[in-house]
């Protein structure tokens, strides 16, 4: 009876079958977690940056497993920054962006429905990452908009990261990504979008 009770307690706490939990995605500017419409200082002392839109397609799956469900992480909907995460005893794969094989299959429901505004109409393909906002310098406002997509080799903008079961957060340091750009707008697939995406990947920290 004691053993049965212990078993029930351990299984409900996830110690036997693994915990169903969440992993937090954060977009950071320096050491601060970004919130939309808030100002953050840049390296130029009188400049600040404001983000008006941050959206990213991600999915989670076990290594070698079938493609997981895609989620649209949208900073305007805070719950979407927490992904369901099974803390089982193996690594999981976090995929950033929609891969080529999925692109070839057309349209999907749910997060991948083009109704969400993350699909290019003029040249087929998902927009994997949207970063929009502006720099503010006293009274001057300089807009930026990075719509990063593309699924064709060699400029495919999707990648995978390994997540350990005890990882709690995935952070993207956007100051390193944005401040390094010499263009304020990237709105189509190709070399520049690919380069931007690589910088975005390099900004990722998992812990």
């Amino acid at each position: 009876m004691y053993r049965l009770l212990l078993f029930l307690i351990m299984s409900s706490s996830g110690l036997i079958f693994g915990q169903s939990d969440k992993i937090q995605l954060r977009f950071k500017w320096d050491d601060k977690t970004i919130e939309l419409q808030k100002q953050y200082p840049t390296e130029q002392s009188e400049n600040t940056v404001v983000f008006t839109k941050i959206q990213l397609y991600v999915s989670l799956r076990s290594p070698g497993g079938d493609p997981g469900v895609f989620y649209l992480v949208d900073l305007s909907e805070k719950e979407s920054t927490q992904l369901p995460f099974e803390r089982v005893f193996e690594k999981q794969i976090l995929q950033l962006g929609v891969d080529s094989s999925l692109h070839q299959k057309g349209v999907f429901e749910g997060a991948l429905d083009p109704i969400n505004g993350m699909y290019w109409a003029w040249q087929s393909g998902y927009i994997n990452l949207k970063l929009e906002g502006y720099f503010l310098d006293k009274e001057n406002r300089k807009e930026f908009a990075y719509h990063i997509g593309g699924y064709k080799f060699p400029y495919a903008t999707n990648s995978v990261l390994e997540i350990n079961p005890d990882d709690q957060e995935i952070e993207f340091a956007l100051n390193a990504v944005i401040l390094g750009q010499n263009k304020t707008h990237i709105m189509s697939p190709g070399k520049e979008a690919y380069s931007f995406f690589q910088t975005f990947l390099e900004s990722t920290e998992i812990h």
Partner: protein, 336 residues
């Protein structure tokens, strides 16, 4: 098969399968498993195709540029026009046999039929709308609530379903009942003039206009000079590859009597002009496709024979099929 048909009729619908397509056609490229055809969804797609609700001011529908009486091409203008009489840079292509398409649009910018409708829907010079707003409008209309419910029982109206339904209607537009098709199926024979024209076609045209779809669907520069007012560099705009400069998708030659004007910018009003264009090429035009470099030499009587053959590719039954036409009953229902 009989059991499936009987059950289907009893349930009030008929399921179309890819095996229903013409026997002399290759296997379709469209993945029907991802979007299985059924009559309720085809009907829904037909309603949407003819409904200007897809445009921001409810004046432009798909059928505004893709007329059923013209094999779903646009014939009253060289360049298709959209919302607020905005003029585009190309003539809308005919719509038929889309299940066999590898890509869509004159420059192949769209890689899947299910996403093609997004392009005209969101273009500021065509329908100037967005999918989210279209869905919002549709949800408010009882006749669409009913039509979506028939196609997708107990499911919410979504953007994806709008696109799936439009695809299904367009996939139902199969043109394979021309005289040429009947000859291929052994049901009739060409006249001697048509047969002569057929041989000329095979010698001069078939390297790009491959039977039975009459297109190889690749992008070719056929020697047309660029219209400086339009600055349309064709496939190059997608690939940025210099070899694709002024290359456009090889169109099908089916239903030519119904789909004038011809070429991506509608510059030729008659087939005679088209044939003369090819016979007047000197093979030295910049970026000219390799198939045309040796020239197309046709005597005047041969041009007539070639035309006679091309007319055998017209499919009158397709063009006048009432199942493809404006669904009057849907749009003129009694009060809702």
């Amino acid at each position: 098969m009989k059991v499936v048909l009987i059950i289907g009729i009893l349930l009030g619908f008929v399921v179309l399968k890819s095996q229903d397509f013409p026997p002399h056609f290759p296997k379709p490229l469209y993945d029907f498993e991802a979007n299985p055809m059924d009559s309720a969804t085809i009907k829904l797609g037909r309603y949407l195709f003819y409904d200007p609700v897809l445009s921001s001011d409810s004046t432009v529908s798909c059928a505004s540029c893709h007329s059923p009486y013209n094999a779903f091409a646009h014939t009253d203008h060289k360049l298709s026009h959209g919302i607020n009489d905005s003029i585009g840079t190309r003539n809308a292509p005919a719509l038929f046999n889309l299940a066999w398409n590898k890509s869509f649009m004159w420059d192949g910018a769209i890689h899947h039929l299910d996403v093609q409708a997004l392009s005209p829907m969101t273009s500021p010079i065509e329908m100037n709308e967005n999918l989210a707003h279209v869905v919002e409008k549709l949800k408010k209309q009882p006749r669409y609530q009913k039509a979506f419910s028939a196609a997708y029982p107990y499911q919410e109206i979504t953007g994806a379903k709008v696109l799936f339904a439009l695809s299904q209607f367009q996939l139902s537009l199969v043109s394979a009942n021309s005289k040429y098709d009947e000859v291929q199926l052994g049901k009739t024979t060409f006249t001697s003039q048509e047969e002569t024209g057929y041989q000329l076609f095979k010698k001069h045209c078939a390297s790009c206009h491959v039977e039975p779809l009459f297109t190889n669907q690749i992008f070719r520069n056929n020697g047309l000079s660029m219209d400086p007012r339009l600055m349309d560099s064709g496939r190059f705009m997608v690939t940025k590859n210099e070899k694709d400069l002024f290359a456009f998708k090889v169109p099908s030659l089916r239903n030519l009597s119904y789909t004038f004007p011809y070429m991506h910018d509608g510059r030729f009003l008659s087939l005679r002009e088209v044939i003369n264009h090819y016979t007047q090429l000197d093979g030295e035009e910049t970026y000219l496709s390799p198939e045309l470099k040796k020239g197309v030499n046709l005597q005047e009587n041969e041009k007539v024979d070639l035309l006679a053959f091309l007319l055998t590719l017209n499919d009158k039954a397709f063009v006048f099929n009432k199942k493809h036409q404006f669904p009057t009953f849907f749009f003129f229902q009694t009060k809702e």
